[in-house]
C-alpha cells in the first residue's frame, strides 16, 4: 500500500510535467497542423541549457523560466524557417513531418557534438521532505505540481477569456475564415509557437531536474510519453493533453514501481497503441461532431 501511495505521488509529479510538454506539442499540431517531431530535440536542448545555468549555481526555478523563454523564441524562429515556411509554400502534412524529423535528428547531433556523449547530473535542491499521511513529497515536487497546474489554468484562461486565445482557437479550426475576419493569422501562429516553446523549454528543464541525471536521449524518451498523452486526450485538444499527461505519468510510474523501470516506456506505448485501436480520436477528440456535420446534421 505504501509503495502504491508513494508511486502515486511520483506519478502525479511526472504526469504534471508530461502534461505541460504534451500541451505544448498539441498546440503546435492544433494550430499549425504540424506534427513537429523535433519537439523532442528542443526538450533535450532545454535540459542542456538548464544544465549550463545549473553549473553556474543559478537558481533552479529561475533557470526553468529563463530556459523556457529562450526555447520559446527559438521555437518561433524554427517554425518561421522550417515547418511554417514549408506549409506556406504548399507542402503537405507528410512532407512537413519528414522535414521536422530531419531537423530534429540534425539538431540533436549538433547538441551531442557540442555537449559530448556523457550523461550530465544536475545539482538539485529538493528542499524539505514533507509527509502527508502516506504521501512523501519534497517541496520542489510540490512546486512542480503547483506551477504546472497554475500554468494549465493560465492557458485555459488564455484560450477562453482573451482575444488572442480565441483567435488561436479560431485559426486552429478554420484559418480561411479567421483571415476573412481580419485576424492576423501569421502573428497568431507565432504566438502559438511561442507558447508551445515556452511549455517545451520549461518541461525540458523540469524533466532534467526530476530525473537528475540526463543525456541526449531525454527528449526522445519523453516525446513518446507526450505523444501518448496528446493522443490519449485527442491530438490538438489542450484539455485532452492535460488529462492524458496525468494518465501517462501515473501509468509509467506505477508500471515502473511494480515491475521494473525498464518497462516505463512500454506502458506509454501500450497506452498509445490501445487508444489508437479503441478510440483513435482520443478522449476529447472532435471527429464525432465533424462527421455529424458532413452528414448534414
Amino acid at each position: 500500500m505504501n509503495l502504491f501511495v508513494e508511486t502515486l505521488g511520483f506519478g502525479i509529479v511526472s504526469g504534471c510535467v508530461i502534461a505541460l510538454g504534451a500541451v505544448g506539442f498539441s498546440v503546435q499540431f492544433g494550430i499549425s497542423n504540424v506534427l513537429n517531431v523535433a519537439y523532442g530535440t528542443f526538450l533535450t536542448l532545454a535540459a542542456y541549457l538548464g544544465y549550463l545555468l545549473n553549473v553556474e549555481h543559478f537558481n533552479q526555478w529561475l533557470s526553468v523560466v529563463v530556459v523556457g523563454m529562450a526555447i520559446a523564441v527559438l521555437s518561433v524562429v524554427y517554425n518561421r524557417l522550417l515547418p511554417g515556411r514549408l506549409m506556406r509554400r504548399g507542402a503537405g502534412f507528410v512532407t512537413t513531418l519528414i522535414a521536422t524529423v530531419w531537423a530534429g535528428i540534425g539538431m540533436l547531433y549538433v547538441i551531442v557534438v557540442i555537449a559530448g556523449p556523457t550523461a550530465r547530473t544536475y545539482q538539485v535542491d529538493n528542499g524539505r521532505t514533507l509527509t502527508f499521511a502516506a504521501f512523501v513529497l519534497t517541496t520542489s515536487q510540490l512546486v512542480v505540481i503547483g506551477a504546472a497546474l497554475a500554468l494549465m489554468f493560465a492557458y485555459h484562461l488564455l484560450l477562453t477569456q482573451t482575444q488572442l486565445g480565441k483567435a488561436m482557437r479560431a485559426t486552429s479550426v478554420n484559418p480561411v475564415v479567421a483571415r476573412s475576419c481580419g485576424i492576423p493569422v501569421s502573428r497568431v501562429i507565432d504566438a502559438a509557437w511561442f507558447i508551445s516553446g515556452l511549455l517545451c523549454g520549461m518541461s525540458g528543464v523540469v524533466l532534467a531536474l526530476t530525473t537528475v541525471t540526463f543525456g541526449s536521449t531525454l527528449g526522445t524518451t519523453f516525446l513518446i510519453y507526450m505523444i501518448a498523452a496528446a493522443v490519449f486526450g485527442g491530438i490538438g485538444q489542450p484539455y485532452g493533453a492535460m488529462v492524458g499527461g496525468l494518465v501517462v505519468g501515473l501509468a509509467t510510474q506505477l508500471v515502473g514501481a511494480y515491475s521494473s523501470p525498464a518497462y516505463e516506456d512500454v506502458a506509454a506505448f501500450v497506452i498509445l497503441t490501445a487508444m489508437l485501436l479503441v478510440r483513435p480520436r482520443g478522449l476529447f477528440g472532435t471527429a464525432a461532431t465533424r462527421s455529424l456535420r458532413l452528414a448534414g446534421g
Binding site: K166, R169, A170, N174, V176, V177, A178, R179, C181, G182
Partner: protein
C-alpha cells in the same frame, strides 16, 4: 430599424445605382498554369443581390476565389469602387469592407456562437464589438438564446445564421457568399436565400452569391450571371434568365448557350 449594419444607399434597383460597387473586369483565373475562367465581367452594387449560376465545373468557385485573392489571377482586375483589390489577401479585403462566407467551412465549429461573433469583430475595439454583437442578434433573433452554444452542435440553418452574423460584424459593404445553401434541405434553402441573403441586400449590402440551386436563387436575384465553361454566357435580370428558353438546356444539357448570346 436602421443600425450601423445597414449600409448607406440601400434600396437601389440594379447594378447601375450608386453606393459601393464591386466588379471584375476581364478576369482570367485558375490554378497553377491552368486557366479555368476567361474574361469574366461581373458586378454587384449596394442594395442589390447578384447571383452567379451555372452547371458544375462552370468555374463559379474559381471566380469567387479569384475575387478573394485565393487563387491565381492571370489577367484582369477586381475593383472595389474603382480601386483595384486584385490578389489582395483576405485580411486586407476584410478591412476594405468585403466579407466572405465560404461554402461549407463557414464558422468556427469549436467556438461558441458569441465567440464566433467576437472573432468576426476581431478588428473592432471592445465597446464597438459589443454593440455590433447586439445589432447582429437583432438581425438574427433566433441566435439570441443560443449565444453560449458551440456552433459545431447546431443545425445547418443556425450555422449559416452564425456565419452570416460573423461576416456582418465588421459592417461590410460587400458580402460574398459561396453556395450558401449547400447541404441544406429545400425548406432551409428558401429560408437562407429569401430571409437571410435577400434581407442583407435589402439592408443595403452588395450581395454576391454563387449558387448551385439556380431556380431558388434567380427568383430573388436583382441581377444574374450564367456561367458556362469558364465564361459568362448570359447576363440579365434574374427573371429574364429564369424565363430564357435555353436555361433548362444549360443545367440539364451540355451548355448550349453560346458565349455572348443574350448578353446585356
Amino acid at each position: 430599424m436602421p443600425t450601423s449594419l445597414d449600409s448607406a444607399g440601400s434600396g437601389g434597383a440594379g447594378p447601375a445605382s450608386g453606393g459601393t460597387r464591386l466588379r471584375t473586369r476581364g478576369l482570367t483565373a485558375g490554378y497553377g498554369d491552368i486557366r479555368v475562367i476567361h474574361d469574366v465581367d461581373v458586378e454587384v452594387t449596394s442594395g442589390t443581390m447578384s447571383v452567379v449560376v451555372g452547371p458544375n465545373g462552370a468555374g463559379k468557385s474559381t471566380l469567387l476565389k479569384g475575387i478573394l485573392g485565393l487563387t491565381r489571377v492571370f489577367e484582369g482586375q477586381v475593383e472595389l469602387n474603382g480601386q483595384s483589390v486584385t490578389g489582395k489577401p483576405l485580411e486586407q479585403l476584410a478591412k476594405a469592407g468585403i466579407a466572405y462566407v465560404p461554402q461549407v467551412d463557414d464558422v468556427f465549429d469549436t467556438l461558441r456562437v458569441r465567440e464566433n461573433l467576437e472573432m468576426g469583430g476581431f478588428l473592432l475595439d471592445k465597446a464597438t464589438r459589443q454593440e455590433r454583437i447586439d445589432e447582429v442578434l437583432e438581425v438574427f433573433p433566433d441566435l439570441r438564446r443560443k449565444t453560449r452554444r458551440f456552433v459545431g452542435s447546431m443545425s445547418g440553418g443556425e450555422r449559416k445564421m452564425t456565419a452570416f452574423g460573423r461576416a456582418l460584424m465588421l459592417a461590410p459593404k460587400v458580402m460574398v457568399l459561396d453556395e450558401p445553401t449547400a447541404g441544406l434541405s429545400p425548406a432551409l434553402t428558401q429560408v437562407v436565400l429569401a430571409e437571410q441573403a435577400r434581407v442583407l441586400a435589402d439592408r443595403g449590402k452588395a450581395v454576391l452569391v454563387v449558387e448551385q440551386k439556380a431556380k431558388a436563387a434567380l427568383e430573388l436575384a436583382d441581377w444574374a450571371y450564367v456561367m458556362v465553361q469558364g465564361r459568362v454566357a448570359m447576363s440579365a435580370s434574374g427573371r429574364e434568365v429564369l424565363d430564357h428558353p435555353d436555361m433548362a438546356e444549360v443545367f440539364l444539357g451540355g451548355g448550349a448557350v453560346a458565349p455572348g448570346r443574350a448578353t446585356g
